[in-house]
Symmetry: C2
Subunit: 260 residues, 2 copies
């Protein structure tokens, strides 16, 4: 199954474009999990069980697992293993390096941890991106326009050719997508006008859209701006931190349903 | 001790600006290490023992450790612990994400693994960079101009203000350096003319310079282009892959001495 087919299948089955962001911080878990050997795994499994019929994807922000020390490896592995096969798994790694190094990252996040898709930082250009694009069943979401204030520092800069940097990146990603149809763009939900314009610019690319919920974007604005394009909308804290109590999983489910 | 003081002290003690790049690939280690429980650790310790009097820094390319699976965490930890205290340790992670996520990465690579310096991708702007800049004893090398062909795709693009993107990044990094004097730039050795110009543009910033050896740059060209600025020149494969035989450590030492 190609990457695009997997997204479409997962979205048909869940009737949803919601991705649940497992940005699981081991330092602020519900007290209920005190004493567990690997509380992050227990937490993630409970969230997945509670939301798997209303989510088309789960995204693991790897930073939280890297900051989890020795237990982080098992946490990623066991979390991935507990996600139903038909749901899209996304490793939010934002890597990108010279070709030989990107090959190592591709091995780590496409083979060792078999994420269906990963996020990649495009700054270093094509040879840094290419190792991630070799498999048609592995998607690559390149940073297009991010949801944070610092997007103004470089991404919005106007080039001498009249384009903004994020538009130039988008045009390159469209070309990188051609051989295997496995590239996409990260586009922040906090910028609906730009999202609409990018959707017109790259109608064929799947978008991974963070920034709904805590960061301020709304699902309605995103859907209106995105139109008919393939999109996966990520919500993290708005779902996994809906309650810090013993009812965290039920609260996550209730929160997730509001986004479907 | 501040980050800059640590660099100066390490370079005075070693009479060298050489950084040995521990891009240790577990899939292609010398046969001598077959049967070791964690052969990457044994390899790295042997390289460190053989080169510690001629190197001012060691750089771990984290991609290789992430691709090493469960043993990667211990490999980073034990390698760091075996590097003499006065030598600069660099975690080549090229991370960068929204603020809350960058805080997790900062915890992972400045506290949990106490690298003296890390590499960071500046694309997402200041709020993504700021969490890494909070400690005066932790340096941050931002990608300025990289040594790979793909640098042409975005880094060299001309902006409407007349600067190239990498020059605009450099000017921002100079500002980010002001509060704590702990920022630097990654500048590829394969581009001596640009290195010279960047040195004039940012005389106060330490440069981390990869690309000498296998990638084609020479130490002589780098030293001439860099002039009096603080620079750390990284060589990886040219040293750690000097021999695949049982003499790999002696061969690494002989290779390293050529760069001092």
């Amino acid at each position: 199954m190609t990457f695009l087919e997997k997204i479409k299948h997962a979205q048909e089955k869940s009737h949803s474009i919601l991705c649940v962001g497992l940005d699981t911080d081991w330092k602020s878990l519900p007290k209920k999990l005190d004493g567990e050997e690997n509380p992050v795994v227990v937490f993630n499994k409970a969230i997945i069980d509670a939301t798997k019929d209303v989510a088309c994807a789960y995204k693991l922000q790897l930073a939280y697992y890297e900051a989890y020390g020795e237990r982080g490896y098992a946490a990623v592995q066991e979390t991935l293993a507990s996600i139903p096969e038909h749901i899209v798994t996304i490793g939010d790694v934002k890597r990108g390096d010279i070709g030989a190094t990107s090959e190592q990252y591709a091995y780590a996040y496409q083979e060792m941890f078999p994420f269906d898709a990963i996020t990649i930082n495009p700054l270093m250009g094509f040879d840094a991106a290419e190792p991630f694009l070799r498999r048609a069943d592995r998607g690559v979401f390149f940073l297009g326009l991010t949801s944070n204030p610092g997007a103004r520092d470089f991404e919005y800069l106007e080039l001498s050719n009249g384009k903004k940097l994020y538009e130039e990146i988008t045009d390159n990603v469209r070309a990188w997508n051609e051989p295997k149809k496995n590239a996409g763009l990260v586009v922040g939900a906090t910028k609906p006008a730009e999202l609409r314009a990018l959707r017109e610019r790259a109608p064929e690319l799947p978008f991974l859209i963070p920034g709904v919920g805590t960061q301020g974007g709304t699902m309605e604005d995103v859907k209106a701006a995105n139109g008919d394009g393939i999109a996966i909308v990520n919500v993290s804290r708005g779902i996994i931190a809906a309650s810090k109590g013993a009812d965290f999983a039920e609260a996550a489910r209730a929160a997730a349903k509001k986004y479907t």
